[in-house]
Symmetry: C2
């Protein structure tokens, strides 16, 4: 079994934010940023809780970071040694992403000799409330050592503070911190038990937002002294119970159990690539992230756009989930995919409210969906770098394509699992109401025969308020068509329930409406040169290059889009838009058209979103161009491995992990390079491997069965396991 | 006869731009800014030509300033005395606006004593190519005087230079300068003859862009020495001939003739107010401006928004003309009103092109109309003060209400003159094609019964891209209704021509289209509290005060509108919008509704346009509130008499005269305070005079007859003269 190790072998202060992301560990219940144990909020330290949100004052609602039970540092002969303040002699940070274990090793030159701190920790994959950590100190000389360890409740927040109340206490060898949020009084409880492997006095110091134990000892040279800590995080929102007796748990046992669980996961999800270790490493690193943030066995949760790497994008769920991540889960762990969809189904009321707010019908899902479908997106979502003022953006009100993404995700799930029963668990309502929503957007000029959709923001967010965005219109048609198909299916499969649905929606009338909408909606067609216009008037915009547009920036942090951004008056786009449509509806277009549009649009794309490269890569595969696809695929798979991702939109920090990019890379690997398609309920494999790939093998869940896919240059085999 | 004198009795350098406007003289063929004779382009000196435009490089097209034949200064004992460089002992600048004569008197303390320069000049109202000037020098001591006078071709331009070629010459005592524009090779010719009243040598110095005569003399103390100059300006665009022999013309005779012409004009247009000299002064000053810029006897011209005061707003014609100025001409000099309308009728091809450009039908008139209806408005019409970048504005593409203003102006003309013959001179096509234009804007939601107009900029330009602007929709309906009415009239009156029109437009089909449009267009109705929403969603905007919005400015020159301006997210508006609609369609609304809306919107109006106050004043009159109307009326009448008008939109200079405000003041005086209405082809007078007005009298042309209106508190008489 190949090792999967990510490591940094020296200390770079400026990498702290990036390392927080790429060394992330998590178990779907929380994510632990890859920060060091002695770090505090200044170093963007966070244990980000899935699905718990709070608003502080008038600021944006965002996900909540738990009090941090990893907090630990060392004092040698009365002097504290901690990064980033004390320059180390050596430093190494490591993520074993096969086993989901984070570790660090740091040496400092002290008066008297060298001291070494090691720490290993993991977010338990088998018991999702637990974090386990082993912290070891040694010195090559005799010295007085004090290990300080506890729970730091003074957490990092972007729009905090969220804990308006905080209690710290100590009882029977366990430290407790409970923070209570201001908006909804949600309690986040953290407790920890610590076992030193040496004789020591324990002093507990209880401060306002921090509780710490101090262990003192005199060390012998070159002897390691360790503490093991088991910490538990729960919240008043939990829908399941945590009932571990943490004082009795043993680090090594927990670790073994944790690794077994990861082995189980890798057993299905690992992708082997023969001939390209770099690609194999990157795609499995992507898969690692997707696994670390999957809401296994949790209800009412989905996956935020930045995973569990922090509060960026408000910890909210975007179309990213249904468009780019869900494919991976459908084909490795369908229950997770269903959980994601159930999150949408169960938050339809929020979508109804949002549609109503804009005078529209049906279900208009939140652009930045928080618990219960609450729309976390503000009307002012970017800060102007020149004036410091919030800018009126249209992500919230005009990015209509989000509801279609939900239906698209659902359809992928149904096709991949054959599980129509979800329709009778609320999905049929979701589909119908998404269709109603698009219907209510349709406009017709007094003397024109077709329907249009106006005043839209498409996937390319740099052009706001456009008419007939090709992608949006095509997705609306998709929703109308799928609604027709699924209503028919539902009426056949669930005769009795169909009556209830008929009463609610008048299915005959709905069908007429759907047919009329699907038949008459305007779909952008290729122009004479084969290029499809991204929206009405796009071709009239200044035709220039990404580099030219970039050269016009007056401030590197300024927003490219909006009414006056450098890209707004040009054909330069943020991300795949036409390219996404072509990939998704490849059967509607000839390879020739796909090629021409790939070439036209890719040159004009900034790839300012991590969702862009994978879509273009997939399209390149569909045109038979594996080489072009390869570099885009690698960009996507390495989104979190590569430094220098886009970290600012205006003055708003947008760094974090990129699970959609990672999910997108998986799609390219499986549907693109391996060429997996389904036809008539069967998997087909039409591989198109990049030049240096000699072979590729992986497993896939499809309609309740697990298959092994094995590709060796020229030959492909799919065998049920 | 009351004198009408405007004067400034000291020299203030900072008033130079403002004085250039308020001391303007003109005759409709050109406007002469109220600058002093020694001024050059640095002091915004300009003789602005009506209807001649040029584009230099990529800059905005704008009207052209002629070479300046007023250029004159004095040298005493070898030293030049000129404002603003040499501080005067005394200075007075005067505009006799009854007689259209500009004059100045300046004293300087020189070594040896006091020297005095006087100058009187006028733009001949009787011979519209001519400028006459008398320049006088005296000193209270003996000295060497040199008078330098000539034609300065180095003119002030905002987006120049426009003369790519310039020739200067001298022949038979006449100096010549001809400038040729770059874009269309239009020649602007200036020549001048000068007669000194003293014996002198004349030296002519001919520079690249300037030709000057130098007259030298030795003066006796306290004796005045004068030169008389007659200058002629013509252009290769003239549609009539200038055939004066300027060498033989005599200043005093020309002046007498000029004053006689002004007397003829004042005989019809003067308004007398008993009890309020200030108001009488202001309204007649307004009338002076309207007369100075009227294109009398000229074809193919209309009146720019800033009159003939310079190149601001590109010297272009706006809706201002048909909405605010034309009323005055209809009722004092209907031929001028017809000239204005013929300009629109004859430029329909430009309007057709513009409609086509946006995929619309019929006639979409230019927002900033230049010669031939050319659209002078740029997509980027404001400069961002923070970035220095041009801002994408929507004056050009979305201010749909401009075509309706043309029809509205036409309808006022027809009602006021009874002259339907204009219909058969192209007006019926204009009306039908404006209606076709609005028809092509109508949108209907798939499941809604009415038509909407989306993505509009209404009169309140601070809110761009709104849906169902009340004013715009109501004006569209007006156009549909008027088209029905005028087609019917046309068919009756011009049976033969009606066949031609029917062939062109299929009148039966057009009628059906017009009825459907008029009946089904969505018209904003008063809400429960009686307030009409300015556009969909206006009431959801932040409800705050003009002062609060102003306090948020980071830069006094920043633009309030656009996507992110301080007013954009609030209910604060630039100018009358609902108020304009209510004034124009007063019969559709109860006084109660008008009162409520006046009160609601006036408090939220910045009056950032000079078109605003008069509309509110008129509405206040219609609600019976003369006192409130009075202060708004005075604001409007004194637009050019008051310092501190808005001079910047972003980084774009927008100063100049405000003929629409002046025309608006006239409407308030006549239709508001005097309460002139027409019913069944008759004039009615229902006066509502402001508190201190004891009486009011004026003359009015109505359907080919001149009437004297005489109002004394409580009683009104209208008598045909």
């Amino acid at each position: 079994m190949t090792e999967f190790i990510l490591s940094e072998n020296e200390f770079n202060k400026e990498n702290i934010p990036w390392n927080g992301n790429r060394f992330l560990t998590g178990n779907g219940y929380f994510g632990i940023r890859g920060t060091l144990e002695e770090y505090t909020k200044e170093n963007m330290c966070a244990i980000n809780m899935a699905g718990i949100y709070d608003r502080a004052g008038d600021a944006w609602r965002e996900s909540v970071n738990a009090p941090n039970p990893l907090y630990t540092y060392v004092i040698i002969n009365g002097r504290k040694y901690a990064l980033p303040h004390n320059k180390p002699l050596s430093h190494m940070q490591t993520l074993d992403f096969r086993n989901g274990v984070h570790s660090r090793r740091t040496e400092w030159l002290a008066e008297g000799g060298i001291i070494t701190v090691k720490c290993e920790r993991f977010a338990s994959m088998s018991r999702r409330h637990l974090i386990a950590m082993k912290y070891t100190v040694s010195a090559d000389f005799e010295c007085d050592v004090e290990i300080v360890t506890g729970i730091d409740g003074d957490v990092w927040d972007i729009n905090g503070p969220h804990f308006v109340k905080m209690q710290t206490s100590y009882k029977n060898n366990v430290c407790y911190v409970t923070g209570v949020t201001g908006e909804k009084s949600i309690a986040v409880n953290v407790r920890e038990a610590v076992k030193p492997d040496f004789n020591t006095d324990e002093t507990v110091i209880n401060e306002e937002r921090c509780i710490c134990r101090h262990f003192s000892l005199k060390t012998k040279p070159n002897v390691e002294y360790s503490i093991e800590k088991i910490a538990e995080i729960t919240s008043s929102e939990d829908d399941f119970e945590a009932n571990d007796n943490i004082e009795r748990l043993v680090y090594s046992e927990l670790k073994a159990e944790h690794i077994t669980e990861w082995e189980r996961i890798w057993n299905v999800s690992e992708i082997t690539i023969d001939g390209d270790d770099e690609a194999m490493y990157a795609i499995n690193y992507s898969i690692y992230h997707l696994n670390s943030i999957a809401p296994r066995g949790q209800k009412g949760k989905s996956i935020p756009a930045r995973g569990l790497s922090g509060q960026v994008y408000k910890g909210a769920v975007f179309w990213d989930t249904e468009m780019f991540m869900i494919d991976y889960y459908i084909h490795t762990e369908p229950e997770v995919a269903k959980t994601l969809l159930k999150y949408r189904i169960e938050t339809i009321e929020g979508a109804r409210q949002k549609a109503k707010e804009y005078g529209l019908k049906g279900a208009y899902y939140a652009w930045e969906s928080q618990e219960g479908g609450y729309e976390g997106c503000s009307d002012y979502n970017v800060t102007d770098v020149f004036t410091g003022r919030p800018m009126r953006t249209h992500f919230r009100d005009k990015q209509y394509h989000v509801s279609a993404a939900v239906v698209y995700g659902l359809m992928k799930y149904i096709r991949g699992t054959g599980d129509y029963s979800i329709l009778n668990e609320g999905a049929i309502e979701t589909v119908i109401e998404c269709a109603q929503f698009y219907r209510s957007l349709l406009l017709r000029y007094a003397d024109k025969p077709y329907y249009e959709i106006h005043d839209v923001v498409g996937p390319d967010e740099y052009h706001e308020r456009v008419n007939n965005n090709a992608y949006t219109n095509r997705m609306a048609k998709f929703v109308f068509d799928i609604a027709i198909e699924l209503i028919e299916k539902f009426e056949k499969e669930y005769t009795e329930d169909a009556e209830r649905i008929d009463k609610k929606y008048d299915l005959a009338k709905t069908r007429t409406m759907l047919r009329d909408s699907s038949e008459n909606i305007f779909i952008q067609q290729p122009h004479e040169d084969g290029i499809i216009e991204q929206f009405n008037g796009y071709f009239d915009l200044e035709d220039t290059t990404v580099e030219t547009v970039r050269s016009r920036l007056l401030n590197p942090k300024e927003y490219w889009g909006g009414a006056y951004g450098v890209a707004a008056g040009t054909q330069v786009i943020k991300q795949a838009d036409i390219a996404a449509m072509l990939s998704m509806f490849r059967n509607d277009y000839s390879v020739e058209i796909m090629k021409k549009n790939f070439s036209y649009y890719e040159h004009r794309t900034e790839h300012g979103s991590s969702l862009s490269a994978c879509m273009y890569a997939l399209l390149a595969c569909y045109t038979g161009d594996a080489d072009t696809a390869y570099s885009l695929f690698m960009k996507s798979a390495k989104a979190d491995l590569t430094k220098g991702g886009k970290e600012w939109a205006g003055l708003v920090y947008i760094g974090g992990t990129h699970p959609a990019s990672e999910g997108g890379a998986w799609i390219v690997a499986v549907n693109g390079f391996a060429g997996i398609e389904e036809t008539d309920g069967k998997l087909i494999c039409r591989p198109l491997l990049p030049e240096k790939w000699k072979g590729m093998s992986f497993k896939l869940m499809y309609r309740n069965k697990l298959y092994a896919v094995d590709i060796k240059k020229g030959k492909a085999a799919i065998n049920e396991i």
